[in-house]
């Protein structure tokens, strides 16, 4: 199926540029590291599920420059993301925000786990050979048994 991925990832590319270009890189290595990390959270708007850090599209470059601009202006990581989401919408985030409307997405795993654990506990307990009182021989049965064995 990767072949389709491959087709799509690059067939939308209009201008052959080259992911992060040398002239984009910030002089301050700490700011640049933050910019790279943020770039991996942001989607290239015209690509198929590709982040702006690795995208070749022109709009991805614009976004990368915008991220760096905000960071240089002194914004925090969250402020930078907010700034971009305000302009481009939630669509630009590769990791949707944990809000009430996205609750199902984030809780799908934990909920399935809880339900699954419930089922498993139920199943395993039914399969567990518990020594129940009803399984033990009553006094009368013990007596009867010894009588039979004595015969």
């Amino acid at each position: 199926m990767m072949l389709r991925t491959l087709i799509f990832i690059l067939c939308i590319v209009a201008t052959p540029v080259f992911a992060v270009l040398p002239d984009e890189v910030l002089d301050d290595p700490i700011l640049e590291t933050r910019a790279r990390a943020l770039s991996k959270e942001l989607r290239c708007l015209v690509c198929r599920n590709e982040n702006i850090d690795s995208s070749n599209a022109g709009i991805a470059r614009d976004l990368r420059l915008l991220v760096r601009e905000r960071l240089v202006a002194g914004d925090s990581d969250t402020e930078t993301l907010d700034f971009i989401v305000d302009r481009y919408g939630e669509y630009v985030l590769l990791k949707p925000r944990f809000t009430a409307r996205n609750a199902i997405l984030y809780l799908a795993g934990p909920m399935t786990l809880l339900i699954g654990v419930g089922f498993c506990v139920f199943y395993i307990r039914r399969r567990t050979p518990a020594v129940k009182n009803s399984d033990r021989l009553t006094h009368a049965e013990v007596k009867r048994l010894s009588e039979l064995l004595d015969d």
Binding site: M1, P16, F18, N51, V117, I124, R125
Partner: protein, 660 residues
């Protein structure tokens, strides 16, 4: 003419598939042996016919018959022969024909090698298998005919997408389809068992090799795809959490769960209904994957409108197959009771935990993949779910799985004594933690990922070794006796340990590359030197070269490590004129410890070039791990028991002939 023969052959195959879906099923119900036996010859003829059709299409690509719409749209006379052939499945119609070819290939295998299956079970399996091929042959014939002719053939074709002109295309899709489609066997066996209403250890032994085969080929297919993307896309990513990748990953996860639960059915006659459900789910995810890939509905919500017919058709197949199988399951699952007993701490419970975690992980991937669609349909919001989400939501479950794996693997069946099991694991645990601490103290950055990841990998590998030693009862007797017993262990024991160690290697590779990758971006001119980590590079300029159907700019970079030359590297930029498309061909210097990865970017006035250089520590272990896992599967597949199991049941295989 050749193409018409191919076209006619698929039509004929479709007719036979229809018959094979019905007659053997009735035969099995009424115990008419002739009707049941029809399944064998029908399955073989389906395979022969689809193979003829596939051969005809391949021939048309090889001779560049541009009067076929498909060839004109996806091939070019100047394309190298290898890519003319692989181009057969480098497009929707051709890959669908390959999909069907593999489907009927599995059917033919059952007909040929399933001689020892009970006649009724075999007939039902073949009928169910044929229902699937009927549906997909109809899909091919009515919506995606590869043999459509053009009234005015062009002089030359449109060529194949340059990214696909790679040896990767020769192996990646066939292996992936062998896996995807192989799960149809588990599905058919499950549905047949539901119709019969009987699931026993023998059934599990028959279905396990097929699932194993599908899982092995799917592992190889996914691994190849990941490797291909790594060297072809030019920035060295190896997994993208792309919907299409997820589409192949979900059946893999479920197939892994199915393999483990089938062991419980085989050994302990428990978890029967669950195993049947997993077999249905595994193939359902294959179908969902096919739907995701072919309809374009998830990748881009608008693509559905481009080709509503195909999407709706697969959706219909999907609904009928999954709905039908689950309905049958709901009706019959109650009959599958078990008397097996086991305690909370036992191999059985360990395998249940394995199943639980794999299914939960699949649920995370599934919801993540379809969430953009759900959000848009329910509230009109457009949003994206990509790698950062999956890394957060998926990883914890896998970590728990890896932590629990070595413990579960050595627990005895029925009832384990915790203290004993823990005593065996103490050494492995201590060594793993020690390794983690060592890595933590050696590394400069403060990230916990590498120490933890490496400790986890060591835990898995040591656990696998311990598992083998325990099987060989190393505590009893001398080392040479242990060695002798090790050699005598059944292949499936070796397979299990090898596959688990392979997972350890994979975890090691992922942790190392994620924590320690180094990267450099710069512009370079001729003669420039630059350093990255322990490595130094000299850029010697760019030469123009020509390939058969592309022109290229090839750079020559000399790489040194601590002053010693390790080699010349040739990153390349290609341009394919027919498709008007550039590609990057990274130069990779690879060994077990690291890859040096260079890709060449744009030039400015032919004087300086953009250049991306990466040091990727231990990345090869990601694929080594995958291959070792697949190898473990192969070892299990060749276990004597499965061969004996297929031969040792002649008594039940003979069905009484009805008096006529």
């Amino acid at each position: 003419m050749i193409a018409e023969i191919g076209h006619f052959a698929v039509l004929l195959a479709f007719a036979i598939a229809l018959v094979q879906s019905v007659i053997p099923l009735i035969g099995a119900q009424k115990n008419w042996s002739g009707w049941m036996r029809l399944g064998d010859s029908a399955a073989l003829s389906q395979f022969v016919l689809v193979a003829i059709s596939f051969g005809a299409l391949t021939y048309s690509f090889v001779v560049s018959d541009f009067s076929l719409q498909l060839v004109a749209g996806n091939s070019h006379s100047a394309k190298p022969m290898l890519y003319k052939i692989t181009g057969v499945w480098g497009n929707h119609e051709g890959s669908m024909l390959l999909w069907i070819l593999i489907l009927v290939f599995y059917g033919a295998l059952v007909a040929l090698f399933g001689r020892n299956l009970p006649a009724a079970l075999k007939a039902r399996v073949l009928a169910v298998q044929s229902m699937i091929s009927t549906a997909f042959l109809a899909f091919l014939i009515f919506t995606s005919n590869p043999f459509t002719r053009l009234a005015n053939p062009p002089l030359d074709g449109n060529d194949l997408n340059p990214l696909l002109q790679d040896p990767g295309l020769a192996f990646h899709p066939p292996f992936l389809y062998l896996g995807y489609v192989g799960l149809s066997m588990s599905f058919s066996f499950a549905v047949a068992a539901l119709i019969e209403g009987r699931v026993d250890a023998a059934w599990a032994r028959w279905v396990r090799p097929w699932t194993l085969l599908a899982w092995i080929t799917l592992s190889i297919g996914i691994g190849l795809g990941s490797w291909w993307a790594y060297y072809e896309l030019g920035w060295g990513g190896w997994w993208f959490w792309d919907p299409v990748e997820n589409a192949s990953f979900m059946p893999w996860l479920i197939a892994a769960a199915l393999l483990h639960s089938a062991v419980v059915v085989e050994k302990r006659d428990a978890l029967k209904a669950w195993t049947i459900l997993l077999a249905i789910l595994a193939f359902s995810f294959s179908l969902i994957g096919t739907f995701i890939v072919r309809s374009g509905v998830i990748t881009s919500v608008h693509a559905f409108a481009n080709d509503p017919e195909r999407g709706v058709f697969i959706l219909a197949i999907l609904t009928i197959a999954i709905g039908g199988a689950l309905t049958l399951f709901a009706a019959r699952a109650g009959q599958m009771r078990t008397n097996a007993v086991f305690s909370v701490f036992s191999r059985e419970s360990g395998l249940i935990l394995n199943n639980l975690l794999l299914v939960v992980a699949t649920a995370v991937v599934f919801f993540g993949t379809i969430w953009p669609l759900i959000a848009e349909l329910t509230s009109g919001r457009k949003l994206s779910v990509g790698a950062p989400f999956f890394e957060t939501a998926f990883t914890p479950f896998m970590v728990v799985l890896c932590l629990a794996l070595p413990i579960g693997a050595i627990l005895p069946w029925k009832r384990a004594v915790i203290a004993t099991s823990f005593k065996h694991l103490r050494g492995a645990l201590a060594l793993s933690v020690a390794l983690g601490v060592l890595v933590w103290s050696l590394q400069t950055g403060g990230r916990m990922l590498a120490p933890f990841g490496l400790a986890l990998a060591a835990w898995l590998v040591l656990g696998a070794i311990l598992d083998l030693l325990l099987r060989a009862r190393y505590t009893a007797g001398t080392p040479s006796e242990t060695l002798r017993r090790l050699r005598k262990l059944p292949r499936s024991d070796w397979g299990k340990a090898v596959a688990h160690a392979g997972l350890g290697f994979l975890v090691f590779g992922i942790a190392a590359i994620t924590a320690w990758e180094q990267e450099d971006i710069r512009t370079v001119g001729i003669g420039d030197r630059f350093a990255l980590g322990q490595y130094e590079f000299v850029f010697n300029g760019v030469e123009k070269t020509n390939g058969p159907n592309y022109s290229a700019q090839t750079a020559r970079v000399t790489a040194y490590r601590n002053g010693a030359k390790i080699g010349e590297m040739f990153p390349e930029k290609r341009f394919y004129p027919v498709q008007n498309m550039p590609t990057t061909e990274a130069a990779i210097h690879s060994n077990l410890f690291r890859d040096v990865y260079i890709s060449l970017g744009e030039d400015r006035d032919g004087q300086v070039w953009a250049m991306h250089t990466y040091i990727k520590p231990f990345i090869a272990w990601i694929w080594i791990g995958t291959i070792v896992m697949a190898l473990g599967g192969c070892l299990s597949l060749t276990d004597r028991r499965y061969r004996i199991a297929s031969a040792a049941r002649p008594k039940r295989a003979i069905t009484p002939q009805p008096a006529q």
